[in-house]
């Protein structure tokens, strides 16, 4: 029996953002609890490994596939069904380490669901986390001091872009940066601090996608705990997929390596579900997905640092997914 403080410690590590593998003892966690915890994590497109590590731990029996997805296969035979949730987010990688210790950025590639023109501006003058080889390193993105603009040219009218970003991690030289394990290609994202407000609202960057994954995760954990890891009928593959922003590479890898499927259900925020259903994907892999449906988590303030979901709705979505997993859904 694991003591309560160890469970608390594990939960706090997960919530802190830099993903640490989480033991499976949180099996009873609700979809809402998991949504809050996953919303505190970062998985920049192409750099989802630590998030996937956590999901592998939370889903006993799952494994990492060749794309880096976390995949769990339940049952055998037909029908063959796929339930998937993307884990990645648009973020940044260090593009250059300047001799004076500031970092410049390169935005992660996006082909699906391109962020709006104010996306980069969300990091200006805010806290970010740089995921170095020795762990998470806090930093801030520089902004001009308003005092020093008085009587002079102020900041431009055009929105801030990632080319304007200088990340300050407190280092005064490139050598100090390297000593922190930070270098070119280290992933960077807004510091994640899930923010609860109202009776059941959760605000965070990518809250919708994280809540959708939490709904799927909680449903699978509940269902497999009750049914001895067997779905109602046929084969059900559950996948937490990487690189969705790169034309669904993770999802298509599951389709081509585990499919073909009769149907695929994607859990995501509303915009993500719409994007995958409208996406022009390579014909063969796309066909292996079968009919594509969505469990869409509604969001407010989408695409912002305070993207908001209702945790009550997350629980309802999770219940719907659990019904589907048991073959009871009239979806």
């Amino acid at each position: 029996m694991v003591s309560r403080w160890k469970v608390r410690l594990a939960l706090s590590l997960l919530a802190a953002g830099p993903a640490k593998a989480l033991p499976a003892q949180t099996a009873g966690a609700s979809a809402a609890d998991l949504a809050v915890r996953l919303a505190g994590m970062t998985a920049v497109t192409g750099y989802e490994q630590r998030m996937v590590d956590t999901l592998l731990t939370l889903l006993p029996g799952s494994e990492r596939d060749r794309a880096g997805d976390a995949v769990l296969a339940l049952g055998t035979g037909v029908p063959r069904r796929l339930a998937a949730c993307p884990v990645d987010e648009t973020g940044y990688a260090v593009g250059q380490v300047r001799p004076d210790g500031w970092l410049t950025l390169h935005r992660s590639p996006v082909r699906l669901r391109v962020p709006g023109p104010l996306f980069d501006q969300q990091i200006e003058g805010q806290r970010v986390t740089v995921f170095g080889r020795r762990g998470a390193v806090p930093g801030v993105v520089a902004i001009r001091s308003i005092h020093l603009t008085r009587g002079r040219a102020s900041i431009p009218n055009e929105p801030f872009t990632s080319d304007d970003a200088f990340v300050d991690i407190g280092a005064a030289s490139a050598r100090e940066v390297a000593a922190l394990g930070v270098g070119v290609l280290s992933p960077v994202a807004l510091a994640k601090r899930p923010h609860r407000y109202g009776s059941d609202r959760l605000a965070a960057p990518m809250a919708g996608r994280r809540a959708a994954c939490a709904a799927l995760l909680a449903a699978v954990r509940r269902t497999t705990a009750g049914q001895g890891a067997a779905p109602a009928r046929g084969t059900t593959v559950v996948a937490f997929v990487v690189e969705q922003q790169l034309e669904a590479r993770g999802l298509l890898t599951v389709a081509t390596t585990r499919g073909p499927f009769d149907e695929t259900w994607v859990a995501d925020d509303s915009a993500g579900v719409a994007a995958i259903q409208a996406a022009s994907l390579p014909a063969g892999p796309r066909a292996a997905l079968g009919r594509v449906h969505g469990w869409a988590v509604a969001t407010r303030y989408s695409g912002t640092a305070v993207e908001t979901v209702s945790l009550g709705e997350v629980e309802q979505t999770s219940a719907k997914i659990a019904d589907w997993l048991r073959g009871e859904a009239g979806q």
């Binding site: 801030v140 005092h147 005064a172």
Partner: protein, 361 residues
Amino acid sequence: MKRPVIALLGLALAGPLAAQQPARIAEAQAVLAPLIESYGVSGREGPVRATVERLLPAWARTETDTAGNLWVRVGKGDPVVVFVAHMDEIGFLVSGIRDDGSLDITRRGGFFPSLFEAEPALVHTEAGPVPGVFTPRDSAPASPRRMPGPFRVDVGTTSRAATEALGVKVGQGVTMPKHYTRLAGTRASGRAMDDRVGCTALLLALRHLDPARLRHEVVFLFSVREEIGLEGAAAAAAALGTRTRRVHAIDTFVSADSPLEPQAFAVAPIGHGPVVRALDQSSVTPPALVDSVVALARARGIPLQTGATNGGNDGSVFGPWGVPDVPIGWPLRYAHSPAEVVDLGDVAHLGDVIAALAERW
């Protein structure tokens, strides 16, 4: 016995910070962090005042004037020397509650509003903070402007009654949540370093000086409403009148130490020591006084920079009584943003300068 002990303390303060760094940095951080995480929009400084009082040395006696300034008087007799740091921070006040439950807000102080758009919010009610979010603009055109129009706060309700039931009222302060964050080396970040670092430096000086050594009265003033027009300091200046011989505003030296800033002035790198803010938009310090401060710091082995920057300071409102203003600050990057960065060594040294001035000048 007291004098040798004090002398040793003076020597310890005077030594290079690197030699004593861990303890000095830890002390600066232990004072600064709770001040950063206290909230005090201009005119609503109560929580900060409470934190300052908690961090004062046991011997210190305080008074709060009708403006809300917190006074600590040390030593006796004229002339009076004043050190003033402000407790308030930029933010918003609730100006209205709409039928849909959202809040209209008005700005307090100068800052880029884009820094608050679509960020978490806290409304500071009598019963504690009520969380919400600063709303993003409704829709962004293909080529939006950088700065948003007016935005509101959504506290997750759908009616005025529901919002009022949370204890939200017109006039309450609204901020973002704040977190003190230690960066690499001796650097730290958090919103409202301006002017919690000044408050920290006053507290460090008070902790390290011996009240019995002061040769005249020294006022350590923690002021209110600086960001909206130096209002608290103005009240204190009027109360003291011509008794004040000299005033030291202990406030931010807004530094151009950033790749984004023009390098025409304000070039004071962080980590190189406090700065005599000899010229800004509210005061010009007599050169002889600048030289004198520099000489004192040099004698004590305290690194000190001098420079010119923008902004106004609390000491300037003592001008009508003929009081010279010798502002001293510390270099700050990214002023009035959630990303403000300081060097804790500068903070510790600023406390040393203040203690030296209080004892020797």
